[in-house]
């Protein structure tokens, strides 16, 4: 390479008018030659440092990945998200419903268990009168000769039927209901006793009433059959 040509190219270079090809010739000259004229030593140092500076420019290792992540990757993520979100939402909804169903079912089971366990303490509403008084016997049939009526039974003034029935115990398991006519009995044994007593009294009362009714019916039938003697027959009833 003619050194004068190099000097001319350097002049163009420092004027900013050298082409790429001319600049490349200068770079190659300073790179390949160790025997540099004294007046070109500074230029040689500059070109050498420019080459080093260029080599020092290293691309960040993760830059390409960052670019992909923020462009194509993001798009894919969005697509994936739009595909996944409805499925996740549906799954969550289903899970929520199942959970709620399970919890309420569990509560129901617990509640039944509790019912079974606390059956003894389940309050039984018992009318005071059912405990303290027996059902009243029906009003006696009144028969007249002209208008014989069938036996009519209606509730009248209560008559103590189970006078001996014990008053409900006032224990911790017994409390008064809002209405004074009823008492809540929590003790199932006590409630069963009361119930059986009530049934027994009802049975005996019905039996007594039935006997009386049968007897009166027989008299009434007799009076109807013998209208002439009917007054005497009816007197017999009143007696």
């Amino acid at each position: 390479m003619n050194i004068d040509k190099i000097r001319n190219l350097l002049e163009k270079y420092y004027e900013g008018s050298a082409s790429n090809i001319e600049t490349d010739i200068l770079k190659q000259y300073f790179r390949d030659n160790n025997d540099i004229p004294e007046d070109l030593r500074v230029d040689a140092a500059i070109f050498r440092d420019m080459a080093t500076m260029k080599e020092d420019v290293a691309l960040p290792e993760n830059l390409e990945q960052l670019i992909i992540d923020s462009t194509i990757g993001r798009n894919r993520r969005n697509i994936i998200l739009w595909k996944v979100i409805p499925s996740v939402a549906a799954s969550l909804a289903l899970l929520t419903v199942l959970t709620i169903s399970f919890i309420s079912g569990h509560e129901r089971i617990l509640s039944s268990d509790e019912d079974a366990m606390v059956a003894q303490s389940e309050p039984v509403l018992v009318h005071k009168e059912e405990i303290t008084a027996a059902p009243t016997p029906t009003e006696d049939c009144t028969l007249t000769a002209s208008t014989p009526e069938p036996m009519v039974s209606k509730t009248a003034t209560p008559e103590p039927a189970i006078a001996q029935a014990p008053a409900p115990k006032k224990s911790s398991t017994t409390r008064k209901a809002s209405e004074n006519n009823y008492i809540e009995v929590y003790d199932s044994i006590q409630a069963a006793k009361i119930s059986s007593r009530i049934l027994a009294k009802l049975e005996s009362t019905i039996s007594r009433v039935a006997d009386k009714g049968i007897r009166k019916t027989e008299i009434a039938v007799a009076a109807i059959k013998d209208p002439v003697n009917a007054p005497q027959i009816l007197d017999e009833i009143s007696n």
Partner: protein, 160 residues
Amino acid sequence: MKQLEEIFRKRFLPVYPKLYSIALAILGSSTDLASDAVQETMVKIWSKGDELLSVNNPEALSIAILRTTAIDIMRRQRKYEQVDTITDIAPDSPPDHETATILERIIDTMPPAQKEILRLSIFEDLSAKEISEITGVSGTNVRQLLSRGRKKIKEIYSKL
């Protein structure tokens, strides 16, 4: 979408190393800022969507977007001056970083426009015309900035 991805991968993604060098030239050797500029540029390119399918010169488009992006970043950094402003080379001042070569330290002391043009010349081996196209500075001004910068470098090297 697949076609767009393919176009982006094949025609635009390979440009990023050059964009990085240009970003470094514009932003003054800040690798973080240069990375941000390149990444932001690529996102802007990708957001053009189907327009990319009809782009004839991906590199030219990418460089144009990078330039505006880098300038925005520079403005955000409040370090940018008008590209067309031709200022004298800054007086000899201490270099910003000790590990840089003498050449880098000299360039770092120059005004941003001059620094950018010199860096584009060194890193990318661009001609005055190409630098003019990238920076938007007229060809004459590019040659003037290159000339003053190179002479200043030689002046400092001569004193070493």
